[in-house]
């Protein structure tokens, strides 16, 4: 497998799409963090910190992974080079795991590009305070790393089974968008207040009405299910990281590890049975 990984990385170094994604991630970070820090300058009494903007990458990283992974792995099929690896005597398990390692590494490098962009923006805005303790920062980064692992496992699965590059690209991006949309819906549902107060106009002026039950509030068992799904889904984790609202970090880490392992085992089993043209 070491040989395949070496071949993948040498290809990665020359891959134009990879460098475009890296550049886009870097530029996005510089712009986003810099404008975020500037905005905070106008909030009196608030200490400027990077954490409020830094973890925003946890949202777009999934899209970048979908784009890059599908193009990189799709090329193996469209150019037919996956055949060279099989004919050369590599097992399907080796080929699959090498592809996963590559996509995961690329995801981490995209994270590194964001971090580099953050440093440049911090330098430009003069904001060096991270705004969170080292342990919390480490925990959040670990959740982000495993979020990348889940995305990589899912997109590798798609990329290794679909032989059509355009279809791979479309399915991967649609999957990411579906996960993001679903997670946003879950988050919105969970953010609803249990009760709300209206404003009434009376002869004496305006006054708040009595608290009323919010019909859109999700409670009971369903609330637990929604919260659990938001913690499990990679896009949901990204959303919580961005908003710095991570409630159950250990559960998030374990669920990510489980999904990565399950997707990899499922993908390898399907890939082993696949008829390659």
């Amino acid at each position: 497998m070491r040989k395949l990984v070496s071949a993948h990385f040498s290809r990665l170094r020359k891959d134009r799409m990879f460098w475009i994604c890296m550049g886009a991630m870097f530029a996005y970070a510089v712009f986003y963090i810099w404008s975020g820090c500037r905005k905070e300058q106008f909030l009196p009494g608030e200490e400027r910190s990077l954490s409020a903007c830094y973890f925003h990458f946890a949202i777009p990283i999934g899209l970048f992974c979908a784009l890059f992974d599908s193009l990189f792995l799709g090329t193996e099929y469209s150019d037919g080079t996956i055949r060279n690896k099989i004919v050369a005597g590599h097992t399907r398990t080796e080929i699959y795991l090498a592809a996963l390692l590559l996509t995961f590494s690329a995801g981490l490098l995209l994270m590194a590009a964001w971090t580099a962009g953050t440093l440049v923006a911090a330098l430009a805005s003069g904001t060096w305070n991270m705004g969170m303790g080292l342990l919390r920062l480490f925990l959040y980064l670990l959740i982000a790393v495993l979020e990348v692992a889940v995305f990589s496992a899912l997109f590798t699965w798609i990329g290794m089974l679909s032989e059509n590059k355009a279809v791979t690209e479309m399915i991967s991006v649609l999957l990411f968008l579906a996960l993001l949309l679903f997670s946003s819906m879950l988050y919105n549902a969970l953010s609803q207040p249990e009760t709300y107060c209206g404003i009434e106009m009376t002869m004496d002026g305006m006054r708040t009405s009595e608290a009323m039950q919010n019909p859109r509030y999700v409670g009971g068992f369903l609330r637990s299910v929604y919260a659990c799904m938001l913690d499990v889904l990679p896009a949901g984790q990204g959303l919580q990281l961005w908003l710095l609202e991570v409630g159950r970090p250990v559960f998030m880490l374990l669920s990510s590890a489980f999904i990565t392992a399950a997707a990899t085992l499922g993908g390898m089993a399907s890939f082993r049975r696949k008829n390659i043209k």
Binding site: R2, K3, L4, S6, A7, S10, R11, K14, D15, R16, T75, D79, G80, T81, I82, R83, N84, K85, I86, V87, A88, G89, H90, T91, R273, N275, I276, K277
Partner: protein, 304 residues
């Protein structure tokens, strides 16, 4: 005789379609094995199975004496190179970078021999040109170059002349002969261009509906292909009467043409024909081609 590849009742289905139906074939070491069959006969399916791209439903094959179910089959595969259907090369890379990729895939410690391979396939001077700007012939040769990395002693080429211009076909032919003669590489080559194949192959396998109809060596085929004299005359009926009288085997082609399968005593025959009032317009010695042999083997209705 030592065989590089032996298949035993190899079977492969795609849903209800039987692509291979108990196929048996043997490729002797050092041969150029011409694999002939019409579209959908099972040529590419067999090649895909041998390359490990697909698994057979039943039956099996031995590659360098190792069964395909053997855990060590990868070791046998490392001794082969293949170009299946289209050349497997990265279009965004140069020829040299493509070869370097294959060196890495094989885990070779250095890029020694890379220039020699490019030279062998006639791509030594392409420099930094990306593969996407290559002609079809150049891509085909690069595909073979990639297959040659690691010095394989068994090369599988699936339709290598497909889509090439006459010059490209000649170049590929010369390359294949060179690889076989100078590097002693056993070659399995599938092709629709029977005339081209007949200039290369030392052994033939004819496949139809997923089964091998006939395996024959080039020498045996040469003996089987019959020589004849094609005669053009003014009245073919008179020719038939004379040939019947002389006890010669023949085949009428048209009102004026017939093939005579015998050593024709020219003066005796022309004198007999003159007596019948039949004029001889032309006579040519002909040899039955691989194509006509293939067509007769397939029952006359099929075409490669």
């Amino acid at each position: 005789m030592e065989y590089v590849l032996k298949t035993e009742a190899l079977t492969k289905h795609y849903k209800n379609f039987k692509a291979l139906n108990g196929l048996n074939m043997q490729i002797p070491k050092g041969a150029i094995y011409g694999f002939v069959g019409k579209n959908g006969a099972g040529k590419t399916t067999l090649i895909r199975i041998i390359c490990g791209l697909q698994e057979p439903v039943s039956g099996g094959y031995l590659l360098y004496g190792r069964k395909h179910t053997d855990k060590e089959i990868a070791k046998s595969r490392r001794r082969m190179g293949a170009v299946v259907e289209t050349p497997a090369v990265y279009s965004a890379m140069t020829a040299a970078d493509n070869l370097k990729q294959q060196y890495r895939v094989l885990g070779l410690p250095s890029f020694d021999g890379l220039d020699d391979i490019l030279k062998t396939v006639g791509l030594a001077g392409v420099g930094n040109k990306k593969v996407k700007h290559f002609s079809l012939g150049m891509r085909q040769r690069l595909g073979i170059a990639v297959a040659l990395v690691g010095s394989p002693d068994f090369l599988i080429l699936d339709e290598p002349a497909n889509g090439l211009d006459p010059q490209g076909i000649v170049e590929i032919r010369e390359l294949i002969l060179k690889l076989n003669r100078e590097h002693q590489i056993t070659i399995l080559i599938s092709s629709h261009i029977l005339d081209e194949l007949s200039r290369l192959a030392t052994h033939y396998g004819f496949i139809e509906n997923g089964r091998i109809l006939k395996e024959i060596s080039g020498k045996e085929l040469e003996d089987v292909l019959r020589k004849c004299v094609r005669m053009e005359v003014s009245h073919v009926k008179s020719l038939a009467v004379v040939l019947d009288g002389m006890g010669m085997e023949y085949r009428i082609l048209s009102d004026t043409e017939a093939d005579v399968y015998a050593n024709v005593p020219v003066s005796k025959l022309t004198a007999a024909l003159a007596k019948e009032g039949c004029e001889v317009i032309a006579m040519h010695e002909r040899e039955e081609s691989l194509e006509s042999y293939y067509i007769s083997l397939m029952g006359g209705g099929a075409h490669a």
